[in-house]
């Protein structure tokens, strides 16, 4: 059921695309018809698959890194208010600095391996995760945090340990829904990171393949790669969505995607 709908959607998408190419008569070298693209997909399956594996690795590693880093800094900022006042503007700035601008510099520092792609991906993913989590953490009902610190007071654990327990048992669970919105957004934008990374410097990957296809006007190959990339993005999104839902059975989100 859950699989069927997206599948139908994808076919609907293909149909829509076909309709656009048929109606608007956009030339083939700007938007090829889905049939041409499917052909390319089949005949160049090996080529695309090889590059796709590389990009998938970059996406997943970047996603993981951004997730960890984003959650970590939200925790830091929420637990130590000064950090927020001093560091938060930097984080916003880091977002505003377009990755396009820093990616070339990153590449000059780190070379053309997988490193810069993961960093660029992590940078993009970082912010929605951090903001979502932080907003969630800060919105914990004060009635609960009050009660929790009262319950803790007679513990002889260190301040750090107490803070840990408050986060572990109260704040983090309260923040999960908000964090999950952030992660969902991050999952959807994760592929951009890898693509940008490959765009500024690479010798493999779907972004690399697309650049080449674009330069050689092999628009069918370009869109076939795009299609695969998009499928990867959608899969990542739904995978993440599924995991998040299982983590939060108490959440009144009646609707299934």
């Amino acid at each position: 059921m859950k699989i069927i709908r997206p599948t139908i959607t994808i076919f609907g998408l293909l149909f829509l695309w076909g309709a656009i190419t048929a109606i608007t008569d956009l030339p083939r070298f700007i938007l090829p018809s889905p049939i041409l693209v499917l052909q390319a997909l089949v005949t160049k399956a090996d080529l695309i698959a090889g590059h796709a594996v590389i990009t998938a690795t970059e996406i997943l590693l970047g996603f993981a890194a951004g997730l960890i880093f984003g959650m970590f800094s939200a925790l830091m900022i929420s637990a130590y208010q000064p950090v927020r006042q001093w560091v938060f503007p930097i984080l916003i700035a880091s977002q505003a600095v377009p990755v396009f601008a820093i990616a070339p510099i990153l590449v000059l520092w780190l070379g053309y391996g997988i490193g810069p792609k993961i960093i660029v991906g992590a940078l993009i993913i970082y912010f929605p995760v951090a903001v979502g989590f932080l907003d969630g953490l800060n919105r914990t009902d004060p009635a609960w945090t009050n009660l929790a610190s009262l319950l803790q007071q007679r513990s002889d654990k260190s301040k750090m340990a107490k803070l840990y327990y408050i986060y572990r048992y109260i704040k983090i669970p309260f923040a999960l829904p908000s964090l999950s919105s952030g992660i969902r957004v991050a999952a959807a934008v994760a592929p951009i990171g890898a693509i940008v990374g490959e765009w500024v410097g690479s010798s493999a990957g779907l972004g690399f393949l697309m650049l080449h296809a674009n330069a050689r006007i092999q628009t069918d190959l370009l869109f076939a790669s795009l299609f695969v990339l998009t499928l990867m993005a959608i899969s990542l999104y739904y995978l993440v969505d599924h995991v998040l839902r299982r983590l939060m059975p108490w959440q009144p989100d009646q609707k299934s995607t």
Partner: protein, 291 residues
Amino acid sequence: ADKITVLLDWFVNPDHATLIVAQEKGYFKKHGLEVELIAPADPSDPPKLVAAGKADLAISYQPQLHLQVSEGLPLTRVGTLVATPLNSLVVLKDGPIKSLADLKGKKIGYSVSGVEDAMLKAMLEPNGVSLSDIELINVNFSLSPSLLSGQVDAVIGAFRNFELNQMDIEGYPGRAFFPEEEGVPAYDELIVIANNSKVSDPRYKTFMLALEEAVQYLVNHPDESWKLFIKKHKELDDELNKRAWADTLPRFALRPAALDTGRYVRFAKFMLDQGLIKTTVPVKDYAIALD
């Protein structure tokens, strides 16, 4: 006045001097043309847009034209801006690479244009280096930085009038290997292309006339031309562009409308041999001289 939109290949730079002079000196206007120059961000877009009828003319490169025509884009060369190759393979002057043969096992950066591997192959094979002996890395627009920072050992796609000066200014002079001296047939670097269905448009002929007047002014009055150039594009008023301007001067096509059919035949054959295109078509189908 008749409006003409011209898509540049890249942001305005000294390579476009003819166009800028024609614009600023009023040659277009004199011929009743109102020309709009638009810079794209991706050099591969303008040909597509002209092919799709979205713009009148585009500035592109001869090697790419062969590719585009082979992919079925209805494009025809109607003029030339720069009549020699600018592209070159650049290494650090003081670096370990003294000859092309030294590139074995090295990293070569390039900005994806679609033809770099063919050119490299032609340049390297006579020196005993095959494509599998080197690692090709897309460095996009960071050609000289990637070389300067040591991330790659050589770059191809660097323009001899530009990247070389740039490196020199940065204090890391470079050494260029010129494709046309290393087995690649000579070609026109910058050309003007139009949609097949509109090549007979009379405006294009006047356009080429204006270009011809411009290029003559340019070679006759290089300093005044430079002033015209930076008057409109203040951000280009620096050492690099000044030097590039000087280096580009001798390379402009003095007869922008003239066509050397032989060049196109030879380069098409080269592309065919390299496997970049599958068939050749008669030159007149994709390159003409407007008369």
